[in-house]
Symmetry: D2
Subunit: 243 residues, 4 copies
């Protein structure tokens, strides 16, 4: 199994162009920070792609060479072209893993895969979040203890409008009084999907060791085991004689 897991770390990348604060927090962009963390894994091959590249950096060729796609968008969800969303969706249905981060809860691709609005409550005062590990035996929680904390976060609160997850892996506690299903898994076609809510454009969350560990685990968990060639509906002959 010497084949590496090929990851594309996608970022909208608009904040990075317009905000000094974001540039200071993430000098190489949020995508740069995540790709750097993932790139340290000997079994991963991580690259980045952003909204303002041709075809958002998600050409047919790029996706064909991708095992797991991580997604970060915030202010420009609508700028993602529908045909690229179609392309990503089909690739997930065929087997590609998809990891949706933080504000991606209302991205086109997440809502496309879920069928729900992705709506939630939010607040941006930098309060404390404690992320509880609800599935201590799940591949995504390997190396994560009973809980971990982030000192300053944007709050995401229930009710989170998502389909019942296959597994709720993390539930978050917030100082301000809310809770959130902060790590959830689903499958669509042959593809595995993980939504992970912690993250922000200026809080240094993607440098946190636990956050990097969870995303790393999620990439391994979501890496395709098999690919489906066709999504067509074939007409088939009977397998038994019909009287």
């Amino acid at each position: 199994m010497s084949k590496k897991i090929k990851v594309i770390v996608w970022n909208e990348g608009r904040h990075e162009k317009t905000s000094k604060e974001v540039q200071k927090a993430y000098p190489n962009g949020i995508h740069g920070a995540i790709a750097e963390a993932l790139g340290k894994q000997p079994d991963f091959e991580a690259r980045t792609a952003t909204l303002d590249e041709p075809e958002h950096g998600l050409t047919e060729a790029a996706l064909k060479d991708c095992d797991v796609l991580t997604w970060w968008g915030h202010m420009a969800h609508d700028a993602v072209a529908d045909e690229i969303v179609d392309r990503v969706q089909e690739r997930v249905q065929r087997g590609m893993g998809l990891i949706v981060l933080h504000s991606g809860h209302v991205s086109k691709i997440f809502r496309r895969m879920m069928g729900t609005s992705g709506s939630l409550k939010w607040r941006e005062i930098g309060e404390k979040e404690r992320i509880w590990n609800i599935e201590p035996g799940h591949p995504i929680t390997e190396g994560i203890g009973e809980y971990f904390e982030l000192p300053h976060v944007e709050m995401y609160g229930e009710r989170f409008d998502i389909p019942t997850p296959d597994k709720v892996v993390f539930i978050s506690w917030y100082a301000g009084g809310e809770v959130f299903r902060s790590g959830c898994t689903w499958e669509r076609g042959l593809g595995r999907i993980f939504y992970f809510s912690p993250g922000h454009e200026t809080f240094p969350i993607y440098y946190d060791a636990n956050i990097q560990k969870v995303i790393t685990n999620a990439v391994r968990w979501a890496a395709p085991r098999r690919w489906r060639e066709s999504l067509d509906c074939p007409m088939v002959e009977p397998l038994e004689p019909i009287a």
Copy 2:
């Protein structure tokens, strides 16, 4: 609870315009046959809508007055306007029930709610189908025995590309050797969804007493208990003092 359940029975209705065979099987259209069956329930108020009406008969006003929508389409899925699909989807997320029949497995609205391709195997030789009741305590199987049979059907076979259902209510056996998860439930937002595979444009399946019973049960099960007003993401104040 004297309020009636308002049902719109939607049909593409194109076969009915072009095929003598379909006209013979369903003189009032497939929608007419289903609406007539549902209309016999004293607690239902059933009407029809079809593709070639303005806005496909699914105006804002029509949907606001609808508790459960049943969907039959086959040859003209692409002719359904995206804005109407958006409208139906949002209405389901707010609470409306959705019952997708037979070839609706690749309709825009079903794929939109599921996130998957809806692909399956098929064969149209009029073989026997035996529909097994896997959830004998479920509201949708009330009055249905351990199984029932349809003498001549179009076969729909696995693998059916759907998200893991909340409940698999029926599994079908086919004379030709396939199986199929023929009745499945999901929830999206406040809306309940039921997919039920039996059906055809010329086989007289929608006149079958068991089929009518299942669809009737499904309408009652999918009728909204509550409606959600907004799908927005509100900013909220903390409920606890933040140090």
Copy 3:
């Protein structure tokens, strides 16, 4: 549908015999308080049963006449006879609803239905709990807002050792920093099961209007739609000719 839902409110009832504090909080016992609340519903017929009655008040005749059983036990789980647990379990498999309250998470009957240990973290300092409504369209949350609060509770914290619930209906936030899946549903055979964590032997939780509303809703949700006569494995003849 004039038939009433018959409820047995079961209580271990030992605290009530030994503790002045419990007697003061629940002069008619915890069972008395819950049965009184349920008895106000015109469609319910509620009675009580306790550990120290013959057969724990759960004779064959009593269970045959019971639609939904609510369960509260704490210090004497082991005093419940295995044959009575067998009897209750079989009755649930045949269709009876079961609502397990608070410290019932390690009762014999709950662990029997779940297959897991039911273990959790706990703390008894009377902190605040905020119970978030995660499923705003579920029958069990009818009349419950986005959340409700209890000022002084025993904390129950994750990881709660339960099988993945069909639906997580409530998630609790605690002042001390934990979270908990405080309302969960499952099905076993034809029976519906609801676990609801709030409760205590001296905090006056079962007098709280929201708590009473949830238990009332849960009784209606868990009331059997059908009963299964036999749990045997019948030998059957083929339905198709075998070559």
Copy 4:
């Protein structure tokens, strides 16, 4: 990851003592046949245990050294001591994988983990079974095509009294007209459970290449990722200051 997966192949082993037919079909016992197949995997270390050994071959020491237990029983389910069932159950809750085969659907350990009766329909006329692969991306179906066939089997038919599985991996079609959820997964505590229905004491099913492949895949899937040390309920201090 050079550590091997330690498997105990458990068999009731009574048929083997009493029936010439069984001895002829399985000269080394059913356990011998399965252990031999698993033992060919370089990453497995397989041994056997049977009912009539002391403590049924499942001593504390044996289970502590076991990653995955496979279970075959048929005529002597009641002869399995409750304390051994307790021991196996606790070991699964701590992380051990459990694979239950064929007539194990009414074994004490399976019913203990499920909470249901495990009842089903059956027929023993040696008809054809076609096992459909419903989850083509699941680890358990690696190397298995769209379906495979067994020419002569005992039929197991729905309704199978089990809790809603996490995943239904296989659905079987029978010549006599039934269907069955023949491969299902659940989790209990940290342990993964797979039920796989094909099997028989005289039909040579455990020599079939596809059957051996599925059991091999299931062992790898069920191998523990982590172990839980304690199933106790700890009292914990608050993580936040309480006003």
